[in-house]
């Protein structure tokens, strides 16, 4: 039976010395989902991805890929496409030769099943076979890395900042390609700093900050109904009042403004809670961009929850 959960992190914790890189990270990505892994620098995104693909051993918790435990060089990785920590190739060989050696290193027969499709995405033209990788631009290396991750027609993809160095047209092509893969049943976990890109692409998001998962779920839940911004005269009291309302998930403050995620609540209900607590409400705005939601969730100094 095919497991619908393709990527699973359960209680992952990893420390370096006394510093927690990630702590109790839990989320799942199902087949057909595109999950954006978001967070500011140092939030633990790359560390989480390293643990998921077995490059880092967690202190506690479990990571599973396609239903199997993930560990260093686990056999299940033949069915997973990985792009992590940026591109890395043998510089004195051509792009095509690099792809061939990467594929053969896994003990497989060249060519891989989705080679042509992934090369089309990479769009390297004659440079693919004629030029050494050391002469490639950053964008070319990035596209070659994506081709390497995709050429095996993977059932799951772990992509760390895949759009780095790509121009807008290439980003769009990548987005469409990933959508097609997801439609065919692949599970995609993708980290990015480009929130607008994730907003256009992802079906789900996991937001991390300081090594912990702040929120995880459907993107529309984070952005759509149930996302509000209140301007209030007493932030502390407002935060306390809103947290007491059933259905409120997160409350974060930015100056006199409060961002609230409460999918099960109406604005009227929340407003009533604030007024009942003696809080003056200056304005209220429903819906927000992913950027606003993200900044609301990871706002550090003035977060009230």
């Amino acid at each position: 039976m095919t497991d619908t959960v393709a990527v699973a992190a359960h209680g992952l914790t990893k420390s370096y010395g006394h510093r927690h890189a990630i702590e109790q990270v839990t989320f799942e990505v199902e087949r057909g989902q595109i999950c954006g892994l978001l967070g500011p620098n140092g939030a633990g995104k790359t560390n989480t991805m390293r643990v998921l693909v077995g490059l880092s051993r967690p202190d506690s918790g479990t990571a599973r890929l396609l239903g199997q435990p993930s560990r260093l060089a686990a056999g299940v990785l033949t069915r997973v496409g990985v792009a992590i920590d940026g591109p890395a190739f043998v510089p004195h060989l051509s792009g095509r030769r690099n792809l061939e050696l990467a594929w053969r290193a896994g003990g497989r027969t060249w060519p891989p099943p989705a080679l042509e499709e992934s090369l089309q995405l990479a769009g390297l033209g004659e440079a693919l076979g004629a030029k050494k990788v050391k002469s490639y631009s950053m964008g070319m290396r990035q596209r070659l890395m994506l081709a390497q991750a995709l050429m095996g027609a993977p059932e799951a993809l772990i992509l760390d900042e895949p759009a780095n160095g790509l121009d807008p047209g290439e980003v769009r092509t990548l987005r469409e390609h990933l959508r097609r893969l997801a439609e065919r049943g692949a599970a995609i976990l993708i980290s990015s700093h480009v929130l607008t890109e994730i907003e256009l692409l992802a079906t789900h998001v996991v937001v991390m900050n300081a090594g912990v998962v702040v929120t995880a779920g459907r993107l529309e839940d984070l952005l759509g109904t149930g996302a509000y911004e209140f301007e209030v005269d007493d932030v502390a009291r407002a935060g306390k009042a809103l947290r007491a309302v059933a259905g409120v998930r997160t409350v974060t403050a930015h100056g006199q403004r409060l961002s609230v995620t409460a999918p099960g609540c109406s604005v009227k209900e929340l407003n009533h809670a604030l007024v009942s607590a003696g809080v003056g409400v200056g304005s209220v705005r429903a819906t927000r961009s992913l950027e606003e939601a993200f900044l609301g969730l990871v706002g550090q100094d003035d977060a009230v929850r």
Binding site: R50, V53, G54, L55, S56, L72, A73, A74, G75, L77, T78, V80, V82, I84, D85, G86, A88, F89, V90, P91, H92, L93, R97, L101, A102, W103, R104, A105, G106, Q148
Partner: protein, 257 residues
């Protein structure tokens, strides 16, 4: 992984230059000595077999050791320098397969270095000095067949000797941040060992170093061939220690590097 390591390393410019040098040296030496064929330029000019034996004497220990140290150091350090190690693991390639690939690539590089040089030396020698029995001063000559076997035996022995220094370079390549540092230390060890080999004050130390036994291949040309056995044991011990260290270093290396 053997294919991947060989395809990756043998196409590097430095590898091609080293192999070209191994081809050019006997050709240049033969061309220089061509006018002295027939033994007028010393023992090496008597026959192709003498020429090949003389060439081996010239190459061991330092020049051959240098060539194989380069291969060992880059096999150990290249993945980290290029950042490709993490992508090997997610292909997926286990540490055992990775290490086995590097080890067999080193074996092939060592054998290739010895075989390339000796093959070119023999061919050059045949063309310039002719195929005659192996001439030994103050003694009866070795037949061409016996000397050929001796050359082949010497090639095998030297290859094993080169593996010991190559293994040390491989371990240092895995330990140190850059291949060039591993190469520098290995070459320093090699030259230091060779230089101290005749210093009686450090004899007790020298006898445990693999380089001390490297020239014993000459015993195959009419000497006491049993003297090669302690040499082989010393190389095996050095290879075992260096390979174990290399594997442990790979186990400890950050896979995400």
């Amino acid at each position: 992984m053997l294919y991947v390591e060989l395809a990756t390393q043998l196409r590097r410019l430095r590898s091609l230059i080293l192999l070209a040098l191994l081809v050019a040296l006997p050709v240049l030496a033969g061309a220089t000595e061509a006018s002295k064929a027939g033994g007028r330029g010393g023992a090496a000019t008597y026959s192709a077999l003498n020429f090949a034996e003389g060439g081996l004497n010239f190459m061991v220990p330092v020049l051959f050791g240098l060539v194989v140290a380069v291969f060992g150091a880059i096999l150990g350090g290249a993945d980290r320098e290029w950042g490709t190690l993490r992508y090997r693991y997610v292909q997926p390639v286990s540490r055992g397969r990775l290490m086995a690939g590097k080890w067999w690539a080193l074996v092939i590089c060592s054998a290739l270095a010895t075989a390339t040089f000796l093959a070119v030396a023999l061919l050059t020698g045949i063309m310039i000095f002719g195929w005659h029995p192996y001439h030994v001063s103050d003694s009866s000559d070795l037949s061409a067949a016996s000397a050929t076997w001796a050359i082949l035996g010497a090639a095998g022995y030297v290859t094993v000797c080169l593996l010991s220094i190559g293994s040390i370079a491989l371990a240092l390549g895995l330990l140190l941040p850059r291949s060039v540092e591993a190469l520098g230390i290995t070459v320093g060890f090699l030259i230091g060992s060779a230089a101290l080999d005749n210093v009686s004050a450090v004899h007790d130390i020298i006898v445990i170093l693999p380089v001390h036994y490297w020239l014993r291949w000459t015993q195959l040309f009419g000497g006491d061939a049993s003297q090669l056995l302690p040499g082989l044991a010393a190389q095996a011990a050095a290879i075992a220690v260096a390979f174990t260290a290399a594997y442990l270093l790979l186990m400890r290396r950050d896979p995400a590097a």
